[in-house]
């Protein structure tokens, strides 16, 4: 079945030439010299005033990166990146010095306001009591401000930039950094480990339910700059945190590199919910420009009964290479991955997840919806594996994709590896998932067959979108209307 008009219109609304966040902020910046060698790594480390061990860790990562080759297995094509021709560090000049809200350059505040990210510590947001979000705003290579820090500190929650964490809580960073995504995990992770400039750090103490949503908003502004941020979230025993991430970049003709690493650690009985609305500049309608988004995201359910849930809405980037994963190490731990990836223009998306079942009675769920339009290529790539000792592992995977137009492609590449007899894995990608019973029910209430499908499918997509915290609903509203009937596995 082909896509219905409503879907086509909705996808058109978020087409690449409709990109709203493509403006540039004219702000003076400090940059590291172009190119990458040991001195760049030393420069970044020195600027951040990092401890000696951190510099050594970076240099070690740099040496490992030097020996590695760019991965070529993903279904994405792009000209070779000249890593010597990039700026690895760029910071607005005005961010030197103390970082309290009053000291932030008004130009930066205006930028974030324009993006719809309020950096003021409003008591009431949008008239809803309690719907407050603490934001860490990252501009190019540095975190410019983190809001609600004091209030979070009262609950014992540490929420700050990773640079600050390295200064204030080095023991915590040292204990967990690189334990989920090791330095030489992959080419881009190694590069990130060497040159990461900023990012967010979150620590939720035992038994604490984080009093508000935490979020980071990433903005690339400077030309020819790579953004390498590193996020580390630790949920100690019995704690809970919901974390949101958003990103945009100016409209530019050249491609820009974004290679982030996100590490999540959930200890016993802890839960982390990580949501992303990724809206990097996707390039223009001819495929010129746009962000190369090469990101390594991984969560480690280290403790028993822990849970990590990834939700992503991907609409941006020229190239997306991203596989938010869960290592289900603790017994009874649970991993979830909900994704909607929409590609338009000449975008290329190769995204998916890995669920590595190691502990006993672990379970995972994968729901992925890919929508390809224009000349884009949209690939779901996933791994579900149960290791020898992972008795009672359970997985359910459902990945559907929809094509709009005959110049695009939608692909599914799932890997299922069961090394344990008691593993129960189900993978399906079908169009017939809408049950006849549901359709019959809707139709006998007077809906036409098409309306019935729309109702059922919208309800289903909403299920995925509802995994997002309320604050992100505005951004994803335009996607809700997209119905997925006519989708192919």
């Amino acid at each position: 079945m082909a896509a219905v008009q409503e879907t086509i219109d909705q996808v058109r609304k978020i087409d690449v030439d409709q990109y709203k966040y493509g403006f540039e902020t004219d702000i003076e910046s400090v940059k590291a010299p172009r190119g990458l060698d040991e001195s760049t790594v030393r420069y970044i480390s020195a600027r951040k005033g990092e401890p000696e061990w951190m510099l050594e860790w970076r240099l070690d990562s740099y040496q490992r990166w030097r020996t590695m080759k760019e991965p070529t297995w993903a279904k994405v094509h792009y000209p070779k990146i000249d890593f010597e021709n990039l700026y690895y560090y760029s910071a607005p000049k005005s961010t030197e010095g103390p970082k309290s809200l009053e000291d932030v350059d008004p130009e930066l505040l205006a930028t974030y306001a324009k993006l719809g990210i309020p950096l003021k510590e409003q008591e009431i947001l949008a008239g809803v009591q309690g719907a407050r979000v603490a934001v860490d705003a990252v501009f190019d290579s540095v975190s410019v401000v983190t809001t609600f820090k004091k209030e979070l500190a009262k609950a014992g929650v540490i929420f700050c930039s990773i640079s600050e964490a390295l200064r204030e809580h080095p023991e915590l960073v040292r204990k967990y950094l690189g334990t989920v995504v090791p330095q030489s995990d992959n080419f881009y992770a190694a590069l990130n480990s060497a040159v990461f400039s900023d990012g967010s750090f979150v620590y939720i103490p035992p038994g604490v339910r984080c009093p508000m949503e935490l979020s980071t908003y990433f903005r690339i502004n400077e030309k020819n700059t790579g953004q390498f941020e590193r996020t580390l979230i630790i949920a100690d025993k019995g704690s809970y945190v919901s974390y949101l991430e958003g990103c945009t970049a100016p409209t530019r003709d050249e491609n820009q590199l974004h290679a982030a690493v996100v590490e999540l650690v959930a200890l016993d009985d802890a839960e982390i919910k990580y949501s992303t609305v990724q809206n990097w500049y996707p390039g223009d309608k001819n495929g010129k420009g746009g962000i190369y988004n090469f990101v390594t995201k991984r969560g480690d359910c280290r403790g028993h009964n822990s849970k990590i849930s990834w939700t992503q809405v991907e609409t941006g980037s020229a190239i997306t290479w991203k596989y938010p994963s869960c290592i289900l190490r603790g017994d009874n731990s649970r991993g979830e991955f909900y994704s909607i990836a929409v590609s338009n223009g000449y975008q290329q998306v190769d995204s998916g997840t890995k669920m590595i079942h190691l502990g006993k009675n672990t379970s995972s769920r994968i729901i992925s919806k890919g929508i390809a339009a224009g000349y884009s290529q949209n690939t779901y790539r996933g791994l579900v594996s149960a290791h020898k000792k992972a008795t009672g592992a359970r997985n359910f995977t459902n990945c559907d994709s929809l094509l709009i137009g005959d110049k695009c492609g939608a692909h599914t590449v799932p890997y299922i590896e069961a090394k344990n007899m008691t593993a129960h894995f189900e993978h399906e990608a079908t169009t017939s998932k809408i049950s006849d019973d549901m359709l019959f029910y809707c139709q006998q209430r007077g809906l036409s067959a098409e309306e019935a499908i729309a109702v059922v499918v919208n309800g289903f997509v909403r299920d995925v979108l509802q995994q997002l915290p309320m604050e992100f609903m505005a951004e994803t509203q335009k996607l809700i209307g997209i119905s997925l009937e006519g989708s192919v596995g």
Partner: protein, 441 residues
């Protein structure tokens, strides 16, 4: 990914072996250039290994340790052949028999060489220049197993069914290995089914009593089914020992062709069943299914590529496997829908039942879709025997062993039901039951 690798013992030995035997291989001067070309292609690409995506789960560099010498002729009585066939002996049909990869006129049916059906051994066809060693598959260039096959091939069946001919009697291509010396065989069947013709072709791979447990088989079948043809194509492998079985099916379908394929595998140490189907005309229908039984440290890999190159075609795949002990089952299925292949209808399912804690199943059902008005789906499941079902059976007074056998039989039966030839279905069901009796979880 191209990774520079050191040549293994077998990779070094194979070209040397080729030099030794090249002059004795059938086809003489006519086939020699193609053989040499294939050998140099193999020398360049080497044995497939884990770093090559299609071979991620089956590493021939580690599993093919030695280059065994090509098998030599071995006498086999009609009784010994019947014994080797076991339950498959009950399948009626005209036989083309190859013992150790060499045509046996004595054991084969005498075919009338003119008329609707032409059957000849490849060795003769190569010598007379009627057949060549090219393939209809597009990717023979990078397929090391096919290259080896072309270099060493000794024999096979060349079958041609005339336009409009309806051949009711199944054609049985029987491959038997015999003799006590470690051996390798390479066979290739070239089959042409004409426009609106009908044919049933069953390939069998069996072992004679007392044969060596150390053998390597490399089998390739190129089959071209014309417009409106109806083809049933089956391969049954029932072997034992440290045996490797590498096979390739290259299937080309015409407009409105109906093709029903089935592969049954049990008893081999390492099996790789490569299946490559390409649609050449609209409204063709493909039903490709299979069942495999693995135990001990057996390794059975089915890698399937269905290429919907034209619109309005249908494909159905169902593969089921039972895995016991330390065995490993692999299913890689890829459905490609090309940009113009609108109205494609593709469905694929791979399921495995694990009987032992150490069994492993790896599945990679892939879709690569470039057309928007299509219905494609795939599914893959892996699980152990359902405790509730076991309990149900036992509560009805069925002993655990019988209950288990019943459940396994019903699981694999769903795939076997795809076979329409009753005698063959019964034979494979009885092979499955014997296998279950002999298998300790």
């Amino acid at each position: 990914m191209n990774v520079a690798v050191i040549k293994t013992k077998a990779e070094q030995a194979i070209p040397e072996l080729f030099e030794k035997v090249a002059d004795t291989l059938p086809g003489g001067a006519k086939a020699a250039p193609a053989r040499r070309e294939a050998m140099s292609r193999f020398a360049a690409i080497g044995l497939p290994h884990r770093r090559i995506e299609e071979w991620k789960y089956t590493d021939l560099r580690t599993s093919l340790k030695d280059a065994l010498a090509p098998a030599t002729e071995a006498g086999l009585s009609a009784e010994a052949l019947t014994a080797a066939l076991g339950p498959l002996a009950a399948v009626a049909g005209d036989r083309i028999v190859f013992v150790n990869g060499i045509y046996s006129a004595v054991l084969s049916t005498k075919f009338d060489s003119s008329g609707l059906l032409n059957v000849a051994p490849l060795s003769e066809a190569l010598a007379s220049g009627l057949a060549n060693l090219g393939a209809i598959g597009a990717d023979e260039g990078q397929n090391a197993v096919l290259a080896l096959n072309a270099a060493f091939v000794t024999d096979g069946a060349v079958i041609s069914v005339a336009d409009g001919a309806e051949i009711d009697t199944p054609l049985l291509i029987v491959n038997v290995r015999a003799g006590k010396t470690a051996q390798s065989t390479a066979t290739r069947n070239i089959i042409n089914v004409g426009t609106k013709a009908k044919a049933t072709i069953i390939e069998m791979f069996v072992v004679a009593a007392g044969a060596t447990a150390n053998a390597q088989a490399n089998s390739a079948t190129e089959i071209k089914a014309g417009d409106g043809a109806e083809v049933v194509h089956v391969k049954c492998v029932s072997d034992a020992g440290e045996v490797s079985h590498l096979s390739n099916w290259l299937v080309g379908l015409g407009t409105g062709t109906v093709y029903r394929g089935f592969q049954f595998t049990s008893g081999t140490r390492v099996t790789r069943n490569g299946i490559n189907v390409t649609y050449g005309g609209e409204n063709a229908k493909l039903d490709m299914s299979g069942a495999f039984l693995a135990r001990g440290s057996e390794h059975i890999d089915t890698t399937l590529v269905v290429d919907h190159a034209v619109p309005k075609c249908e494909s159905r795949e169902l593969f089921k496997g039972v895995l016991a002990n330390h065995s490993r089952g692999i299913f890689q299925g890829k459905i490609i829908v090309r940009p113009d292949a609108q109205k494609t209808d593709g469905k694929q399912m791979a399921q495995a039942l694990m009987l032992s804690p150490d069994a492993e199943f790896d599945s990679k059902p892939e879709l690569e879709i470039y057309a928007d008005d299509v219905v494609c789906g795939h599914g893959s499941t892996v699980a152990e025997i359902d405790e509730d079902l076991m309990f149900y059976c036992q509560s009805r007074g069925i002993p655990p062993g019988t209950a288990r056998a019943l459940l396994v039989q019903s699981f694999i039966g769903e795939a076997l039901e795809k076979i329409e030839i009753e005698t063959l279905r019964d034979a494979l069901t009885s092979t499955t039951l014997d296998w279950l009796d002999e298998t300790k979880a």
